[in-house]
Symmetry: D2
Subunit: 333 residues, 4 copies
Amino acid sequence: MSTRLIALALALSVTAPRAFAQQVVRYEPGDKDLKYVYATVSPVATLRPGDTLETKTVDAFGNAIQKPGDTMAMVKGDNPLTGPFAIAGAEPGDTLVVKILDLTVDSPRGVGALAPGFGALNTTSYTPMLNANLPERIWFYDIDRAKNQATFHAHDSNFSVNIPMQPFLGCIGVAPAGGEARSSIVPAEFGGNMDAPEVRPGYTLYLPVNAPGALLYIGDGHAAQGDGEVAGTAIEVPLRVRLQVDLIKRKKIAWPRFESESSLMAVGAYRPLDDALRIAFTELVGWIHGDYGLSELDAYELLSKVAKIHLVEMVDPNYVVIAGIDKKYLPRK
Amino acid sequence: MSTRLIALALALSVTAPRAFAQQVVRYEPGDKDLKYVYATVSPVATLRPGDTLETKTVDAFGNAIQKPGDTMAMVKGDNPLTGPFAIAGAEPGDTLVVKILDLTVDSPRGVGALAPGFGALNTTSYTPMLNANLPERIWFYDIDRAKNQATFHAHDSNFSVNIPMQPFLGCIGVAPAGGEARSSIVPAEFGGNMDAPEVRPGYTLYLPVNAPGALLYIGDGHAAQGDGEVAGTAIEVPLRVRLQVDLIKRKKIAWPRFESESSLMAVGAYRPLDDALRIAFTELVGWIHGDYGLSELDAYELLSKVAKIHLVEMVDPNYVVIAGIDKKYLPRK
Amino acid sequence: MSTRLIALALALSVTAPRAFAQQVVRYEPGDKDLKYVYATVSPVATLRPGDTLETKTVDAFGNAIQKPGDTMAMVKGDNPLTGPFAIAGAEPGDTLVVKILDLTVDSPRGVGALAPGFGALNTTSYTPMLNANLPERIWFYDIDRAKNQATFHAHDSNFSVNIPMQPFLGCIGVAPAGGEARSSIVPAEFGGNMDAPEVRPGYTLYLPVNAPGALLYIGDGHAAQGDGEVAGTAIEVPLRVRLQVDLIKRKKIAWPRFESESSLMAVGAYRPLDDALRIAFTELVGWIHGDYGLSELDAYELLSKVAKIHLVEMVDPNYVVIAGIDKKYLPRK
Amino acid sequence: MSTRLIALALALSVTAPRAFAQQVVRYEPGDKDLKYVYATVSPVATLRPGDTLETKTVDAFGNAIQKPGDTMAMVKGDNPLTGPFAIAGAEPGDTLVVKILDLTVDSPRGVGALAPGFGALNTTSYTPMLNANLPERIWFYDIDRAKNQATFHAHDSNFSVNIPMQPFLGCIGVAPAGGEARSSIVPAEFGGNMDAPEVRPGYTLYLPVNAPGALLYIGDGHAAQGDGEVAGTAIEVPLRVRLQVDLIKRKKIAWPRFESESSLMAVGAYRPLDDALRIAFTELVGWIHGDYGLSELDAYELLSKVAKIHLVEMVDPNYVVIAGIDKKYLPRK
């Protein structure tokens, strides 16, 4: 279906809501419904602003790694995505609002992997060297949902340790601008593979709408992740997902943003990290200036005294930095 | 005094301790005692392992900015340093241990400044552009020691807000290796202008000893600082300092490290941030592998799940990233 | 038309060549035929290996900037592309060979522009700062085809100077892998907006085939360009283009490559330049090792003594470095 | 001798020239005269503006690698430096002019080496990874001075090839500003280990004077080098050196510059390459604007059409980019 047809379908859906446009939309993807690019394609379902979506995601490996002996060669594609979900009435220039309501780990085990060509401390496709690759390695984590923890088992010694779980969606994004289609491993202006633990209950995510219907994709559930995601994976798990969408009409943002009760957070995604940081902070300065009335230079100075930086990942094709400020330091809106 | 003479003097001080080699060494620098490079020069005093030092530091501007109307042109040199302090018996290949005991803000006001050529979001000496410079600007912060807070006043609106203080030393370092002398604005292998809030009570800092006596310098007190120190300054203040030194003989480290009761933290300082991060994490992997017995690949995987990154500053000639792990995730030592 | 249908059509065209499958294929795009992404879409024409294509390209501004007073706001989209051209029989895993036969500047004037958000020495979308933007500015260059030169006229003084022309295609690329679609301003693995002066007569370009038919796009003619293309544009011109395509079956390359009678050249395109250089050189080492039989370490050492680096551009979303070696330094193939 | 004493000695030498202040100064360093940092120390000799210096340099390994079986462990220090030479009358704020008159390879063999921790395509001290190091390896090059060529012999095959020699000084610099002392492997504002083939006959080098007497150091002769010096070494050789010094009083430059009969070239040295390029080009824009009268924006635009970039090395602690323009494109001075 072309962009034009999708636009038409969505326009119709606004005036004549379909049967599925309920308060709560439930959607279970089959294997063949999974996507591997963020693109402008036909939605699998349409939500209206205010609707809740209940769905699920497979893990970053398409659930292909299940037991010792399984290898990365069994993985059909990275970060299979559930979606896209159209949001009725969304048009380029609007802002999509996504509120994460609930995320449940949907497996008794999680997976971590050292995959050649991927990682912050080994040679990769984009930082290639002549040194020998690190070997492929897979770690399995036992998931204990009652205790909300995952257990790491060392390969080369007897050591095991429990890690508290804090599930989030590594992938969440919309169709990119300008007719681009981007791989599910890429984070960029449209969101995508941000690997941001902020994509969890308690946080609201703002994404720019670039195509009619916005076209929301999700995937790549993580049970827990360290800052930087340095070896290239988190504790990779399938998730059951409940989220709510909304729309801010005619409000244009350039990059994803997060908000919690206490904080504003702006996302920058590029290479090197220096530029990701510059993007995140100029966005945050602009946000504070635009919505809270401080001058740009006052906001810059204040951030130099109280900002928080979350260096989220340095392993995907673009690196992600989140710059934040506690709202208690800001004028009343 | 040459390196050889210093070595001789220190050797003597071990066998025949001088009068000043007390449990608590007090030192008050005069203006002419301040240093502007980390280098191998005659110490202002010698400490013995276990000694406590009580001294003070002027602020990053040499206390030259005092009231509205004062300008950056009045600053004689950046980050004047107190020291160096020799540590008796320290030799290249040892590790210097510095425990921050107490830091007190020593002024009723703190200073923040936008200085042309410095900052993460403006054109600088090392990221120069053809755009017009941002204007020079100075902000004064009222210090309320009883309430442990500093007050920010916006320039371009009526807004004021209180910021909790958490004083630390922006500069702490030793004589560099190989006979180098480095400016007081540089962080590198020898420590220096790391601008790390970890240089505060509760943390222990490890520094490589590169020259006889180690030669410890401190300065650049900060009452509070945001992650990244993005506009180029923290709340700059003079400090009263109490710290304790110790020595680990014949233990060589390549980069500074921090330790608290709960965490291990490794420092990387270079450009771009990507490389600072790689340095910090390979150091941390090596530390975990060497002292806690996990294999390098197990440590790498574990960090990908539980690491903490503190992106300390992106404004000095080198950028500083601190990679940390909570000890609860490590085997017993 | 879906990927599958395109594959089918191309398969058919091999066994039953269509009328347009001549030795020389001529194609003149209308405005509505221009593309703004490299993607897997229906071809405008199909070439067979060995065929010559005669076509034309509009300039980077879609020929919208014609006279003093015209502004960047009149530009509908950057780098409108002619194509795509399918190559019959091309399948993922093959290498497309493009020989540039002839390029003729197709206008009496060329255009240079300073566009806010673009340039190596000014703040941009991906290296944003708080400094004020440089102003938008447009320079017109008189083209003298007889003398093969373009004339620069300074804006702020009386100075003029002639620049020899050496026309090339700034954009040449194929459909990206994995179903991605990339903007016409992006250079990457699929080629694209490489801004490489090597795309001119005398050079052969190798591109990886990622989709059935390869789907070749061209555009963004340059009459002359400095290394780095630092202000963001070359002397932008429409071109008449004659090129020849060929196919190497079952030979897979990861990045674009160039070859001339005397040299091998490998392309790296990423950020920062450090990584673009690493990509280009590891590709070149691999090429020398694979086709000329030197060990990787011998090739590495030899390149350290005789390599040529062409730093092509540092202004597009990815930066482009070309690493080359004169064949006289290589063993016979 | 302190900075103050050196200043005094030089001041005296101006009013009462010493015996050594001849037209041609000859100096042969002994082993103990070699230096390993650029610093403000006593000069080994003093030249007057206009004087010619005849001297020699050992190779980057201090001539320690002489025959198969020799190893990097035999090297006492990298890039031993001849000097420093004071230039009578030079004061901070002046510009030192160095004209390379003649360089002769002073050995029947040259050396190339793969040293762990050094190189653009392998893991290094500043871009560390967990991959295994490349092995240490040494290549010997036969020098044929009559034919002006050096011969490469592959390690892992029978291949040999001749490389034309174009000798230059990898190291040339002055005492750094602000009392810094920098290792002989570092290139920066003071020049240093720039590894720039432009340091050869036909080129004039301008260096900022930072300390009384300027204090010129040279070393690290190269018989030939590829762009980028990617494996970490050139063909390393001792050199016989003849150069002439001069002084431009009260002309302050921030970074090294080169000039030939036909070209202006500005040096940028930092990480990542992106910033080295920005430094080089803003310096070149400033040079053209200041000395040739084009506005900054006209110079920027013109460079985008005709600039030359020499990416000199990406292996030292700072990376070096040289931005150049042919003078034929500039207004008369």
